[in-house]
Protein backbone atom coordinates (compact mmCIF):
# COMPACT_ATOMS: atom_id res chain seq x y z
CA UNK A 1 0.00 0.00 0.00
CA UNK A 2 1.43 3.34 -1.04
CA UNK A 3 -0.60 5.43 1.37
CA UNK A 4 2.33 7.42 2.71
CA UNK A 5 3.34 9.36 -0.42
CA UNK A 6 -0.28 10.31 -1.06
CA UNK A 7 -0.64 11.41 2.56
CA UNK A 8 2.48 13.57 2.34
CA UNK A 9 1.37 15.12 -0.93
CA UNK A 10 -2.03 16.05 0.50
CA UNK A 11 -0.44 17.53 3.60
CA UNK A 12 1.88 19.59 1.44
CA UNK A 13 -1.07 20.85 -0.59
CA UNK A 14 -3.01 21.74 2.56
CA UNK A 15 -0.26 24.05 3.66
CA UNK A 16 0.51 25.66 0.32
CA UNK A 17 -3.04 26.96 0.01
CA UNK A 18 -4.54 29.35 2.56
CA UNK A 19 -7.67 27.24 3.09
CA UNK A 20 -6.25 25.05 5.84
CA UNK A 21 -4.79 28.00 7.74
CA UNK A 22 -8.03 29.94 7.51
CA UNK A 23 -10.16 26.99 8.64
CA UNK A 24 -7.86 26.25 11.59
CA UNK A 25 -7.69 29.91 12.62
CA UNK A 26 -11.44 30.37 12.46
CA UNK A 27 -12.03 27.16 14.34
CA UNK A 28 -9.69 28.18 17.16
CA UNK A 29 -11.20 31.67 17.27
CA UNK A 30 -14.80 30.51 17.50
CA UNK A 31 -14.02 27.67 19.89
CA UNK A 32 -12.07 30.18 21.99
CA UNK A 33 -14.98 32.58 21.98
CA UNK A 34 -17.44 29.87 23.04
CA UNK A 35 -15.08 28.82 25.74
CA UNK A 36 -14.67 32.37 26.96
CA UNK A 37 -18.38 33.13 27.12
CA UNK A 38 -19.28 29.84 28.75
CA UNK A 39 -16.49 30.19 31.27
CA UNK A 40 -17.40 33.82 31.99
CA UNK A 41 -20.99 32.77 32.58
CA UNK A 42 -19.85 29.99 34.85
CA UNK A 43 -17.65 32.35 36.84
CA UNK A 44 -20.56 34.67 37.33
CA UNK A 45 -22.81 31.79 38.37
CA UNK A 46 -20.27 30.44 40.81
CA UNK A 47 -19.80 33.87 42.37
CA UNK A 48 -23.53 34.07 42.90
CA UNK A 49 -23.65 30.55 44.24
CA UNK A 50 -20.98 31.41 46.77
CA UNK A 51 -23.76 33.38 48.42
CA UNK A 52 -26.34 30.69 47.79
CA UNK A 53 -25.22 27.19 48.92
CA UNK A 54 -28.28 25.50 47.38
CA UNK A 55 -27.13 26.62 43.94
CA UNK A 56 -23.51 25.64 44.55
CA UNK A 57 -24.43 22.00 44.94
CA UNK A 58 -25.54 21.81 41.28
CA UNK A 59 -22.52 23.67 39.98
CA UNK A 60 -19.70 21.64 38.52
CA UNK A 61 -17.04 22.71 36.03
CA UNK A 62 -17.21 19.63 33.84
CA UNK A 63 -20.96 19.91 33.38
CA UNK A 64 -21.19 23.66 33.10
CA UNK A 65 -18.13 24.47 31.00
CA UNK A 66 -16.81 21.46 29.17
CA UNK A 67 -20.10 19.88 28.10
CA UNK A 68 -21.56 22.97 26.46
CA UNK A 69 -18.17 23.58 24.90
CA UNK A 70 -18.06 20.12 23.32
CA UNK A 71 -21.57 20.44 21.98
CA UNK A 72 -20.85 23.87 20.51
CA UNK A 73 -17.63 22.64 18.96
CA UNK A 74 -19.47 19.83 17.19
CA UNK A 75 -21.68 22.40 15.49
CA UNK A 76 -18.65 24.41 14.32
CA UNK A 77 -17.17 21.21 12.97
CA UNK A 78 -20.34 20.57 10.99
CA UNK A 79 -19.72 23.91 9.29
CA UNK A 80 -15.94 23.85 8.95
CA UNK A 81 -14.89 20.26 8.23
CA UNK A 82 -16.59 20.22 4.80
CA UNK A 83 -14.16 23.00 3.86
CA UNK A 84 -11.20 20.77 4.62
CA UNK A 85 -12.48 17.85 2.56
CA UNK A 86 -14.08 19.61 -0.42
CA UNK A 87 -10.82 19.87 -2.35
CA UNK A 88 -9.62 16.30 -2.03
CA UNK A 89 -11.12 14.75 -5.17
CA UNK A 90 -13.13 17.58 -6.73
CA UNK A 91 -10.02 19.61 -7.46
CA UNK A 92 -8.19 16.61 -8.90
CA UNK A 93 -11.09 16.10 -11.25
CA UNK A 94 -11.44 19.74 -12.21
CA UNK A 95 -7.77 20.14 -13.01
CA UNK A 96 -7.49 16.71 -14.61
CA UNK A 97 -4.71 15.56 -12.27
CA UNK A 98 -6.88 12.58 -11.37
CA UNK A 99 -6.02 11.13 -14.79
CA UNK A 100 -2.37 10.94 -13.77
CA UNK A 101 -3.01 10.04 -10.15
CA UNK A 102 -5.14 7.04 -11.08
CA UNK A 103 -2.51 5.75 -13.52
CA UNK A 104 0.23 5.68 -10.91
CA UNK A 105 0.91 2.22 -9.50
CA UNK A 106 -1.29 2.85 -6.45
CA UNK A 107 -4.62 1.23 -5.75
CA UNK A 108 -7.70 3.46 -5.64
CA UNK A 109 -8.14 2.41 -2.03
CA UNK A 110 -4.67 3.62 -1.10
CA UNK A 111 -5.29 6.98 -2.78
CA UNK A 112 -8.53 7.28 -0.83
CA UNK A 113 -7.00 6.31 2.51
CA UNK A 114 -4.00 8.60 1.97
CA UNK A 115 -6.28 11.55 1.35
CA UNK A 116 -8.58 10.58 4.19
CA UNK A 117 -5.76 10.30 6.69
CA UNK A 118 -4.33 13.66 5.62
CA UNK A 119 -7.64 15.40 6.31
CA UNK A 120 -8.03 13.49 9.56
CA UNK A 121 -4.52 14.33 10.74
CA UNK A 122 -5.09 18.00 10.05
CA UNK A 123 -8.36 17.81 11.97
CA UNK A 124 -6.68 16.02 14.88
CA UNK A 125 -4.02 18.75 15.08
CA UNK A 126 -6.67 21.45 14.91
CA UNK A 127 -8.64 19.80 17.69
CA UNK A 128 -5.48 19.17 19.68
CA UNK A 129 -4.77 22.89 19.76
CA UNK A 130 -7.99 23.45 21.71
CA UNK A 131 -6.63 21.37 24.60
CA UNK A 132 -5.36 24.75 25.72
CA UNK A 133 -8.88 25.64 26.87
CA UNK A 134 -9.43 22.77 29.32
CA UNK A 135 -5.85 23.47 30.38
CA UNK A 136 -6.88 26.96 31.44
CA UNK A 137 -9.90 25.61 33.28
CA UNK A 138 -7.80 23.04 35.09
CA UNK A 139 -5.49 25.82 36.25
CA UNK A 140 -8.27 27.75 37.92
CA UNK A 141 -10.67 25.03 38.97
CA UNK A 142 -10.86 21.33 39.67
CA UNK A 143 -11.53 19.52 36.39
CA UNK A 144 -12.37 15.83 36.07
CA UNK A 145 -10.05 14.53 33.36
CA UNK A 146 -12.25 11.52 32.46
CA UNK A 147 -15.13 13.36 30.78
CA UNK A 148 -12.70 15.72 29.03
CA UNK A 149 -10.83 12.78 27.61
CA UNK A 150 -13.96 10.98 26.43
CA UNK A 151 -15.33 14.27 25.12
CA UNK A 152 -12.30 14.66 22.90
CA UNK A 153 -12.52 11.05 21.81
CA UNK A 154 -16.13 11.67 20.84
CA UNK A 155 -15.19 14.72 18.81
CA UNK A 156 -12.43 12.77 17.05
CA UNK A 157 -14.80 9.96 16.12
CA UNK A 158 -17.49 12.35 15.00
CA UNK A 159 -14.97 14.30 12.91
CA UNK A 160 -13.79 11.04 11.38
CA UNK A 161 -17.34 10.44 10.16
CA UNK A 162 -17.73 14.04 8.90
CA UNK A 163 -14.48 13.78 6.94
CA UNK A 164 -15.53 10.47 5.39
CA UNK A 165 -18.79 12.02 4.19
CA UNK A 166 -16.82 15.01 2.87
CA UNK A 167 -14.40 12.89 0.90
CA UNK A 168 -17.29 10.92 -0.58
CA UNK A 169 -19.14 14.01 -1.81
CA UNK A 170 -15.85 15.43 -3.09
CA UNK A 171 -15.51 12.35 -5.29
CA UNK A 172 -18.90 13.02 -6.84
CA UNK A 173 -18.24 16.43 -8.38
CA UNK A 174 -15.61 18.64 -10.00
CA UNK A 175 -16.81 21.65 -8.04
CA UNK A 176 -15.39 22.20 -4.56
CA UNK A 177 -18.28 24.44 -3.52
CA UNK A 178 -20.83 21.85 -4.55
CA UNK A 179 -18.85 19.24 -2.60
CA UNK A 180 -18.80 21.42 0.53
CA UNK A 181 -22.49 22.26 0.37
CA UNK A 182 -23.47 18.65 -0.25
CA UNK A 183 -21.39 17.51 2.71
CA UNK A 184 -22.87 20.18 4.90
CA UNK A 185 -26.42 19.32 3.76
CA UNK A 186 -25.91 15.60 4.33
CA UNK A 187 -24.53 16.10 7.82
CA UNK A 188 -27.29 18.55 8.62
CA UNK A 189 -29.93 16.02 7.62
CA UNK A 190 -28.38 13.45 9.95
CA UNK A 191 -28.39 16.05 12.69
CA UNK A 192 -32.01 17.09 12.14
CA UNK A 193 -33.08 13.44 12.29
CA UNK A 194 -32.45 13.63 16.02
CA UNK A 195 -34.92 16.51 16.41
CA UNK A 196 -37.74 14.70 14.68
CA UNK A 197 -37.06 11.68 16.86
CA UNK A 198 -38.65 13.58 19.74
CA UNK A 199 -41.92 14.04 17.83
CA UNK A 200 -41.99 10.63 16.20
CA UNK A 201 -41.68 8.66 19.41
CA UNK A 202 -41.95 4.86 19.64
CA UNK A 203 -39.86 2.58 17.45
CA UNK A 204 -39.50 5.10 14.63
CA UNK A 205 -38.30 7.66 17.11
CA UNK A 206 -35.68 5.28 18.46
CA UNK A 207 -34.41 4.50 14.95
CA UNK A 208 -34.21 8.21 14.12
CA UNK A 209 -32.49 8.85 17.40
CA UNK A 210 -29.98 6.16 16.61
CA UNK A 211 -29.25 7.65 13.19
CA UNK A 212 -28.73 11.16 14.48
CA UNK A 213 -25.11 12.15 14.13
CA UNK A 214 -24.86 14.59 17.04
CA UNK A 215 -26.98 12.51 19.44
CA UNK A 216 -24.18 9.97 19.71
CA UNK A 217 -21.78 12.62 20.83
CA UNK A 218 -23.69 13.47 23.98
CA UNK A 219 -22.73 10.49 26.06
CA UNK A 220 -19.04 11.05 25.28
CA UNK A 221 -19.30 14.56 26.69
CA UNK A 222 -20.88 13.11 29.85
CA UNK A 223 -17.87 10.90 30.29
CA UNK A 224 -19.63 7.74 29.20
CA UNK A 225 -17.96 5.43 26.69
CA UNK A 226 -20.68 3.44 25.01
CA UNK A 227 -19.64 0.92 22.34
CA UNK A 228 -22.95 1.64 20.60
CA UNK A 229 -21.81 5.21 19.90
CA UNK A 230 -18.29 4.21 18.91
CA UNK A 231 -19.65 1.62 16.50
CA UNK A 232 -22.11 4.13 15.08
CA UNK A 233 -19.34 6.55 14.09
CA UNK A 234 -17.08 3.80 12.80
CA UNK A 235 -19.89 2.37 10.68
CA UNK A 236 -20.71 5.79 9.37
CA UNK A 237 -17.08 6.37 8.41
CA UNK A 238 -16.61 2.99 6.76
CA UNK A 239 -19.85 3.26 4.79
CA UNK A 240 -18.95 6.72 3.46
CA UNK A 241 -15.44 5.58 2.52
CA UNK A 242 -16.85 2.53 0.79
CA UNK A 243 -19.20 4.73 -1.24
CA UNK A 244 -16.29 6.99 -2.14
CA UNK A 245 -14.31 4.02 -3.41
CA UNK A 246 -17.23 2.88 -5.54
CA UNK A 247 -17.62 6.37 -6.92
CA UNK A 248 -13.94 6.42 -7.94
CA UNK A 249 -14.35 3.11 -9.75
CA UNK A 250 -17.52 4.29 -11.48
CA UNK A 251 -15.66 7.39 -12.70
CA UNK A 252 -13.07 5.25 -14.41
CA UNK A 253 -15.67 3.55 -16.56
CA UNK A 254 -17.11 6.87 -17.63
CA UNK A 255 -13.67 8.19 -18.49
Amino acid sequence: MKVWPIFKKEMRLYFTSPVAYVVVMIFLLIAGYFFYSIFAFFTLASMQSAMNPAMARDLNVTDSVMRPLFSNVSVILLLLLPLLTMRLFAEERRSGTIELLLTFPVRDGAVLIGKYLAAFALYAVMLGLTVLYPGIVAYFARLETGPVFTGYLGLLLMGAAFIAVGIFTSSLTENQIVAAITTFGTLLIFWILGWSADYAGGAVGRVLQHLSILEHNESFAKGVLDTKDIIYYLNFTILALFLALRSLEARRWKG
Binding site: K2, K9, T103, F104
Partner: protein, 322 residues
Amino acid sequence: MIEVQGLTKQYGPVTAIRDVSFSVAPGEIVGFLGPNGAGKSTAMRILSCFMPATSGTARVAGYDVFTQSMQVRRRIGYLPESVPLYTDMRVAPYLDFVAEVKGVARGERRRRVADVMDRCMIADVQNRLIGQLSKGYRQRVGLAQALVSDPEVLILDEPTIGLDPRQITEIRSLIRALAGRHTVILSTHILPEVSMVCGGVVIINKGAIVAQGPIDTLVEQFFPTARVEVEIVGPPPAVREMIRAIPGVVSVHDEATTNGAGRYVVESARERDVRAEISRLAAQQQWSLLELKRVGTTLEEVFIRIVAGEEASAVAGGEVAP
Protein backbone atom coordinates in the same frame (compact mmCIF):
# COMPACT_ATOMS: atom_id res chain seq x y z
CA MET B 1 6.06 -4.15 -26.20
CA ILE B 2 2.56 -2.84 -26.87
CA GLU B 3 -0.04 -5.15 -28.37
CA VAL B 4 -3.58 -3.96 -28.93
CA GLN B 5 -6.26 -6.37 -30.16
CA GLY B 6 -9.76 -5.36 -31.25
CA LEU B 7 -10.03 -2.47 -28.80
CA THR B 8 -13.42 -0.73 -28.67
CA LYS B 9 -14.51 2.03 -26.33
CA GLN B 10 -17.98 3.43 -26.02
CA TYR B 11 -18.87 6.53 -24.05
CA GLY B 12 -22.57 5.87 -23.66
CA PRO B 13 -23.91 5.93 -27.21
CA VAL B 14 -20.71 7.41 -28.69
CA THR B 15 -18.19 4.94 -30.06
CA ALA B 16 -14.83 6.65 -29.63
CA ILE B 17 -12.70 3.82 -31.03
CA ARG B 18 -13.81 0.74 -32.91
CA ASP B 19 -11.92 -2.53 -33.22
CA VAL B 20 -8.47 -0.97 -33.01
CA SER B 21 -5.48 -3.32 -33.36
CA PHE B 22 -1.80 -2.50 -33.62
CA SER B 23 1.52 -3.32 -32.04
CA VAL B 24 4.70 -1.49 -31.17
CA ALA B 25 8.09 -3.18 -31.00
CA PRO B 26 10.52 -2.55 -28.10
CA GLY B 27 12.62 0.60 -28.48
CA GLU B 28 10.44 1.96 -31.25
CA ILE B 29 8.82 5.40 -31.41
CA VAL B 30 5.41 5.14 -32.97
CA GLY B 31 3.17 8.06 -33.87
CA PHE B 32 -0.54 7.76 -33.34
CA LEU B 33 -1.83 10.11 -36.00
CA GLY B 34 -5.33 11.36 -36.60
CA PRO B 35 -7.46 14.48 -36.77
CA ASN B 36 -9.10 15.88 -33.64
CA GLY B 37 -11.80 13.59 -32.28
CA ALA B 38 -10.33 10.53 -34.00
CA GLY B 39 -10.01 8.65 -30.71
CA LYS B 40 -6.30 9.06 -30.00
CA SER B 41 -6.70 10.17 -26.39
CA THR B 42 -9.23 7.44 -25.77
CA ALA B 43 -6.76 4.78 -26.90
CA MET B 44 -4.00 6.31 -24.76
CA ARG B 45 -6.22 6.42 -21.69
CA ILE B 46 -6.93 2.74 -22.07
CA LEU B 47 -3.24 1.90 -22.57
CA SER B 48 -2.32 3.91 -19.48
CA CYS B 49 -4.89 2.00 -17.37
CA PHE B 50 -6.89 5.15 -16.65
CA MET B 51 -10.05 3.58 -17.95
CA PRO B 52 -11.08 0.15 -19.15
CA ALA B 53 -12.07 -0.62 -22.73
CA THR B 54 -15.59 -1.71 -23.62
CA SER B 55 -14.15 -4.72 -25.42
CA GLY B 56 -10.87 -5.99 -26.78
CA THR B 57 -7.52 -6.41 -25.07
CA ALA B 58 -4.37 -4.37 -24.72
CA ARG B 59 -1.06 -5.62 -23.38
CA VAL B 60 1.82 -3.41 -22.36
CA ALA B 61 5.22 -4.97 -21.60
CA GLY B 62 3.46 -8.34 -21.68
CA TYR B 63 0.82 -7.48 -19.06
CA ASP B 64 -2.87 -6.96 -19.65
CA VAL B 65 -3.94 -3.39 -18.91
CA PHE B 66 -7.17 -4.53 -17.30
CA THR B 67 -6.35 -7.68 -15.38
CA GLN B 68 -2.71 -6.84 -14.53
CA SER B 69 -3.07 -3.12 -14.25
CA MET B 70 -0.54 -2.66 -11.40
CA GLN B 71 2.24 -4.40 -13.33
CA VAL B 72 1.48 -2.22 -16.37
CA ARG B 73 1.35 0.97 -14.34
CA ARG B 74 4.76 0.25 -12.80
CA ARG B 75 6.26 0.10 -16.27
CA ILE B 76 4.76 3.14 -17.96
CA GLY B 77 5.16 6.88 -17.94
CA TYR B 78 2.07 8.74 -19.07
CA LEU B 79 1.61 12.32 -20.18
CA PRO B 80 -2.09 13.15 -20.61
CA GLU B 81 -3.10 15.64 -23.28
CA SER B 82 -3.98 18.44 -20.85
CA VAL B 83 -0.68 18.06 -18.91
CA PRO B 84 -2.42 17.99 -15.53
CA LEU B 85 0.01 18.97 -12.77
CA TYR B 86 -0.44 20.17 -9.19
CA THR B 87 -0.15 23.91 -9.69
CA ASP B 88 0.37 24.48 -5.95
CA MET B 89 3.43 22.27 -5.76
CA ARG B 90 7.02 23.13 -6.57
CA VAL B 91 8.78 21.31 -9.40
CA ALA B 92 11.37 19.26 -7.47
CA PRO B 93 9.02 18.11 -4.65
CA TYR B 94 6.44 17.22 -7.28
CA LEU B 95 8.87 15.03 -9.19
CA ASP B 96 9.99 13.50 -5.90
CA PHE B 97 6.35 12.66 -5.13
CA VAL B 98 5.87 11.00 -8.52
CA ALA B 99 9.11 9.05 -8.12
CA GLU B 100 8.06 7.85 -4.66
CA VAL B 101 4.58 6.84 -5.79
CA LYS B 102 6.13 4.97 -8.70
CA GLY B 103 8.30 3.02 -6.32
CA VAL B 104 11.72 4.56 -6.93
CA ALA B 105 13.81 3.60 -3.90
CA ARG B 106 14.40 6.31 -1.34
CA GLY B 107 18.16 6.41 -1.77
CA GLU B 108 17.89 6.71 -5.53
CA ARG B 109 15.15 9.31 -5.71
CA ARG B 110 17.21 12.43 -5.32
CA ARG B 111 19.64 11.36 -8.06
CA ARG B 112 16.81 10.30 -10.37
CA VAL B 113 14.92 13.56 -9.94
CA ALA B 114 18.08 15.62 -10.55
CA ASP B 115 18.89 13.56 -13.61
CA VAL B 116 15.43 13.89 -15.16
CA MET B 117 15.40 17.64 -14.48
CA ASP B 118 18.67 17.91 -16.38
CA ARG B 119 17.41 15.88 -19.31
CA CYS B 120 14.22 17.92 -19.55
CA MET B 121 16.06 21.21 -18.97
CA ILE B 122 13.98 22.27 -15.97
CA ALA B 123 16.69 22.34 -13.30
CA ASP B 124 16.60 26.15 -13.32
CA VAL B 125 12.95 26.21 -12.23
CA GLN B 126 13.09 23.38 -9.69
CA ASN B 127 12.03 25.60 -6.79
CA ARG B 128 9.25 27.40 -8.60
CA LEU B 129 5.54 26.72 -8.19
CA ILE B 130 4.32 24.69 -11.16
CA GLY B 131 1.34 27.04 -11.55
CA GLN B 132 3.69 29.93 -12.26
CA LEU B 133 5.59 28.22 -15.05
CA SER B 134 5.12 28.97 -18.74
CA LYS B 135 3.37 26.43 -20.94
CA GLY B 136 6.67 25.23 -22.37
CA TYR B 137 8.17 24.57 -18.95
CA ARG B 138 4.99 22.89 -17.74
CA GLN B 139 5.10 20.57 -20.74
CA ARG B 140 8.66 19.64 -19.85
CA VAL B 141 7.71 19.04 -16.22
CA GLY B 142 4.96 16.77 -17.57
CA LEU B 143 7.50 14.89 -19.62
CA ALA B 144 9.85 14.74 -16.63
CA GLN B 145 7.21 13.14 -14.42
CA ALA B 146 6.62 10.52 -17.11
CA LEU B 147 10.36 9.80 -17.29
CA VAL B 148 11.27 9.96 -13.62
CA SER B 149 10.79 6.27 -12.89
CA ASP B 150 12.72 5.35 -16.06
CA PRO B 151 9.77 3.34 -17.41
CA GLU B 152 9.98 0.85 -20.25
CA VAL B 153 7.06 2.41 -22.07
CA LEU B 154 6.12 6.05 -22.54
CA ILE B 155 2.62 7.10 -23.52
CA LEU B 156 2.60 10.74 -24.60
CA ASP B 157 -0.66 12.34 -25.66
CA GLU B 158 0.02 15.30 -27.97
CA PRO B 159 3.27 16.27 -26.24
CA THR B 160 3.87 19.37 -28.38
CA ILE B 161 0.39 20.87 -28.37
CA GLY B 162 0.23 24.57 -27.46
CA LEU B 163 3.97 25.20 -27.64
CA ASP B 164 5.81 27.80 -29.68
CA PRO B 165 7.98 26.62 -32.59
CA ARG B 166 11.26 26.72 -30.65
CA GLN B 167 9.79 24.75 -27.75
CA ILE B 168 8.30 22.25 -30.19
CA THR B 169 11.75 21.64 -31.66
CA GLU B 170 13.21 21.12 -28.19
CA ILE B 171 10.53 18.68 -27.09
CA ARG B 172 10.84 16.74 -30.34
CA SER B 173 14.57 16.30 -30.01
CA LEU B 174 14.06 15.27 -26.41
CA ILE B 175 11.59 12.59 -27.52
CA ARG B 176 13.79 11.43 -30.39
CA ALA B 177 16.58 10.86 -27.90
CA LEU B 178 14.35 8.36 -26.06
CA ALA B 179 14.36 5.86 -28.92
CA GLY B 180 16.09 2.59 -28.16
CA ARG B 181 16.04 3.12 -24.41
CA HIS B 182 12.26 3.43 -24.14
CA THR B 183 9.33 2.31 -26.24
CA VAL B 184 7.33 5.40 -27.05
CA ILE B 185 3.81 5.86 -28.36
CA LEU B 186 2.90 9.46 -28.96
CA SER B 187 -0.24 10.89 -30.45
CA THR B 188 -0.40 13.93 -32.64
CA HIS B 189 -2.59 15.60 -35.18
CA ILE B 190 0.41 17.35 -36.75
CA LEU B 191 1.60 15.39 -39.74
CA PRO B 192 5.19 16.57 -40.14
CA GLU B 193 5.75 15.75 -36.48
CA VAL B 194 5.38 12.05 -37.13
CA SER B 195 7.98 11.98 -39.90
CA MET B 196 10.32 14.04 -37.75
CA VAL B 197 10.07 12.02 -34.58
CA CYS B 198 8.68 8.58 -35.29
CA GLY B 199 9.83 5.47 -37.07
CA GLY B 200 6.37 4.03 -37.51
CA VAL B 201 2.90 5.41 -37.67
CA VAL B 202 -0.61 4.28 -36.87
CA ILE B 203 -3.19 6.39 -38.66
CA ILE B 204 -6.59 6.58 -37.02
CA ASN B 205 -9.67 8.30 -38.36
CA LYS B 206 -13.14 8.40 -36.80
CA GLY B 207 -12.21 5.75 -34.28
CA ALA B 208 -10.86 3.18 -36.70
CA ILE B 209 -7.32 2.43 -37.86
CA VAL B 210 -6.90 3.15 -41.56
CA ALA B 211 -3.21 2.46 -42.09
CA GLN B 212 -0.12 1.50 -40.12
CA GLY B 213 3.51 0.63 -40.60
CA PRO B 214 6.90 2.25 -41.15
CA ILE B 215 6.50 5.65 -42.77
CA ASP B 216 8.52 4.81 -45.93
CA THR B 217 6.49 1.68 -46.54
CA LEU B 218 3.26 3.60 -46.18
CA VAL B 219 4.37 6.23 -48.65
CA GLU B 220 5.28 3.54 -51.17
CA GLN B 221 2.08 1.69 -50.58
CA PHE B 222 -0.12 4.71 -51.19
CA PHE B 223 2.08 6.41 -53.78
CA PRO B 224 3.55 3.70 -55.99
CA THR B 225 4.82 6.34 -58.41
CA ALA B 226 7.66 8.86 -58.30
CA ARG B 227 6.89 12.42 -59.30
CA VAL B 228 8.81 15.05 -61.20
CA GLU B 229 7.79 18.65 -61.63
CA VAL B 230 8.72 20.32 -64.93
CA GLU B 231 8.43 23.88 -66.17
CA ILE B 232 8.79 24.16 -69.94
CA VAL B 233 8.12 26.84 -72.54
CA GLY B 234 6.62 25.00 -75.49
CA PRO B 235 3.31 24.05 -77.11
CA PRO B 236 1.38 22.30 -74.31
CA PRO B 237 -0.25 19.49 -76.34
CA ALA B 238 3.07 18.46 -77.88
CA VAL B 239 4.91 18.70 -74.56
CA ARG B 240 2.31 16.53 -72.84
CA GLU B 241 2.30 13.91 -75.55
CA MET B 242 6.03 13.58 -75.99
CA ILE B 243 6.71 13.34 -72.28
CA ARG B 244 3.94 10.77 -71.99
CA ALA B 245 5.74 8.73 -74.66
CA ILE B 246 8.90 8.36 -72.53
CA PRO B 247 9.06 4.77 -71.30
CA GLY B 248 7.98 4.38 -67.66
CA VAL B 249 5.91 7.56 -67.53
CA VAL B 250 2.46 6.85 -66.14
CA SER B 251 0.78 10.22 -66.42
CA VAL B 252 1.34 13.91 -67.13
CA HIS B 253 -0.81 16.61 -65.52
CA ASP B 254 -0.95 20.32 -66.33
CA GLU B 255 -0.53 22.40 -63.23
CA ALA B 256 -0.61 25.98 -64.50
CA THR B 257 0.61 28.17 -67.33
CA THR B 258 2.39 31.44 -66.64
CA ASN B 259 3.90 33.74 -69.33
CA GLY B 260 3.81 30.95 -71.85
CA ALA B 261 5.64 28.53 -69.56
CA GLY B 262 3.65 25.42 -68.63
CA ARG B 263 4.06 23.49 -65.41
CA TYR B 264 3.57 19.74 -65.53
CA VAL B 265 3.64 16.98 -62.96
CA VAL B 266 5.02 13.78 -64.40
CA GLU B 267 4.37 10.51 -62.61
CA SER B 268 6.52 7.53 -63.37
CA ALA B 269 7.26 4.12 -61.99
CA ARG B 270 9.04 4.54 -58.67
CA GLU B 271 12.32 2.96 -59.75
CA ARG B 272 12.66 5.05 -62.93
CA ASP B 273 14.25 8.48 -62.94
CA VAL B 274 12.90 10.22 -66.03
CA ARG B 275 14.60 13.56 -65.49
CA ALA B 276 17.50 12.90 -67.90
CA GLU B 277 15.13 11.89 -70.67
CA ILE B 278 12.96 14.93 -70.17
CA SER B 279 15.91 17.30 -70.40
CA ARG B 280 17.22 15.54 -73.52
CA LEU B 281 13.74 15.77 -75.05
CA ALA B 282 13.52 19.49 -74.30
CA ALA B 283 16.93 20.08 -75.94
CA GLN B 284 15.93 18.09 -79.03
CA GLN B 285 12.67 19.98 -79.42
CA GLN B 286 14.29 23.33 -78.59
CA TRP B 287 11.88 24.00 -75.74
CA SER B 288 13.23 26.11 -72.91
CA LEU B 289 13.48 24.01 -69.80
CA LEU B 290 13.01 26.38 -66.86
CA GLU B 291 12.77 23.89 -64.02
CA LEU B 292 13.04 20.17 -63.47
CA LYS B 293 12.81 18.68 -60.03
CA ARG B 294 11.83 15.60 -58.18
CA VAL B 295 8.95 15.97 -55.69
CA GLY B 296 9.01 13.85 -52.56
CA THR B 297 5.78 12.44 -51.25
CA THR B 298 4.97 13.60 -47.77
CA LEU B 299 3.06 11.73 -45.16
CA GLU B 300 0.56 14.52 -45.43
CA GLU B 301 -0.38 13.46 -48.93
CA VAL B 302 -0.60 9.86 -47.82
CA PHE B 303 -2.87 10.93 -45.03
CA ILE B 304 -5.11 13.00 -47.26
CA ARG B 305 -5.29 10.18 -49.77
CA ILE B 306 -6.20 7.66 -47.09
CA VAL B 307 -8.78 9.82 -45.39
CA ALA B 308 -10.29 10.93 -48.71
CA GLY B 309 -10.36 7.29 -49.84
CA GLU B 310 -12.14 6.34 -46.65
CA GLU B 311 -14.75 8.97 -47.20
CA ALA B 312 -15.28 8.00 -50.85
CA SER B 313 -15.75 4.35 -49.98
CA ALA B 314 -18.08 5.25 -47.14
CA VAL B 315 -20.25 7.24 -49.54
CA ALA B 316 -20.09 4.48 -52.16
CA GLY B 317 -21.14 1.89 -49.59
CA GLY B 318 -24.09 4.03 -48.58
CA GLU B 319 -22.69 4.18 -45.06
CA VAL B 320 -23.71 7.07 -42.88
CA ALA B 321 -21.00 8.68 -40.81
CA PRO B 322 -21.83 8.48 -37.08
